[in-house]
Amino acid sequence: MSPVVFLTALFISVPVAIVLIITSIWYIWESGNTVLYDSFVQKMFAGLENYGLLAVPLFMLTGELMNEGGMTKRLINMARVFVGGFRGGLAYINLLANMFMAAIIGSATAQIAVMSRAMVPAMEEEGYDRGFAAATTAAGGLLAPVIPPSMMFVIFGVLAQVPIGDMFIAGIIPGLLLSLAFVLVITLIGWSQQFPKGTWMPLRDAKHALIGALPALLIPVAIIGGILFGVTTPTESAAIASLIAFLVGWLVYKELKPNQLGEMFKRTAVNASMIIFMISAASVFGWVIIYEEVPQRLAGLITAITSDPFMFLLIVNATLLLAGMVIDGIAAIILITPILLPIATGNYDISPYQFGVVICLNLVLGLLTPPVGIGLYIASSMSETLPGAILRALWPFLLAVAAVLILLSYFPSLSTMLI
């Protein structure tokens, strides 16, 4: 009965965290093991006693601070210096700025919201199709969960019990690969559509733009440098990043006022508690997964089909693409990691880092696919473009992501080389 309770509750729109909890309650009742109720609440609390989880609110705060702190437009200006003169310059600027942003913001939805507002009107003004402009921006948002820091990697790291810093490092090459794939897509589309010509910035303006963006670049340097050189933990680097974001926004760019902080901390608390509560719920749901031996049973099924790790990852990819279409990416990571990771590492000898990179990128694709592609709807409402128009221009980007997913599944070293 538990699977029925789980699916029914999920599809009538009970909040995902509560679905996990009531399924666990039902399962314990059914199995007669009601002594577990005595420690049910304790288990929920204990699920949060993890140092790595502290990075979740801190990275969210950094995102909030830089959204309000005037960093976005400086980063876009800096991107203009490097790629603005090419034909289709703004499309490349969009992508490059998204890469910079991805190195600061850890969440795709936040990034898509900010960038759509900033980039789509500018691209349309220069003669780009609005659907294409919104699609480029939305696809650029997919870099956020792969290029460190990434909220999804933090959560995967906590669930998979792998160091979050190493998980971040594992994302560097896949992030660059994905960016490269997007560059190729834009170039190919540019050949067929004749994008507007770009103009190079005059040298003086370029110098000005670069200097303007330098303080903002302190943030990725602090985060990635701190972790790479082992100076700070990811949690600490997130706190440092939020402090830098605040000081730069307030004292250097002068666009942030201390009295805005209250509202930002409130949004941080609301959004972080939503995600962390799901992890708490997942810890009691872990009982169901363990007692029912879900991974073992599923492993029995899958190993009967294939013994090849690559085939296994392809099957996982296909399944998760479907799952990502209906379930929010982070909720899906929380649900799926405890079930599939033991199979990947135990039966197929796949590195947890490779597995994490593949499933995180895969599930974030769901943000851009209907029916519940939140990222698609955010891009649509922020840029006042119909979701259909964005989707029509988006499919080459989605194909590029699929190709990168296949590469990442086939070559484990792409994820594990730098660790």
Partner: protein, 175 residues
Amino acid sequence: MLYRVSAAWARVELWCASFLAVCVTLLVLLNVVTRTTGNALFWVDELAIYAMAWMTFLGASAALHHRSAVSVTLLPDAVSPGLKSALLKTVDIVIFVFSLSMVWFCWLWFLPLDIAHAGFDVSTFQSKTFNFIYAEPTSTLGVQKYVFWIVMWLFALGAALHSTMHLISGPETKA
């Protein structure tokens, strides 16, 4: 009336959760400073984690008032308005049952009557119930852990309040 109580309580919860988010940030920053100056404070990590746990459960309860938690809305969005409101009412019932279970589990764990009967004497309580909740210490803070676990009561009762409100008021209640 109940709506106003629920809304006011959700505001308090969110205010506290925001304050705790500030605490988490400051504590982790304090940790960075003290560690780099070679005077690491060993209790900061644990306190930061508890602050995050409190923020989470208070925020999660408030999210029930605002109906803002992550859910799969594919089916309710696809059906007729009549069926949709029936589905949402069912969701309200499920969340109400969930919140009552949380209160019950807190009761089973904290056993408030038993500890009162034992005259708040922890060792008598433990020998009677074999429940060691009031004896478990924190690792570094020098406080009993049940002090931090109390947030589970706040969560359970807050969830019960918000879900009762949604259950008895119409679906048109503004979030």
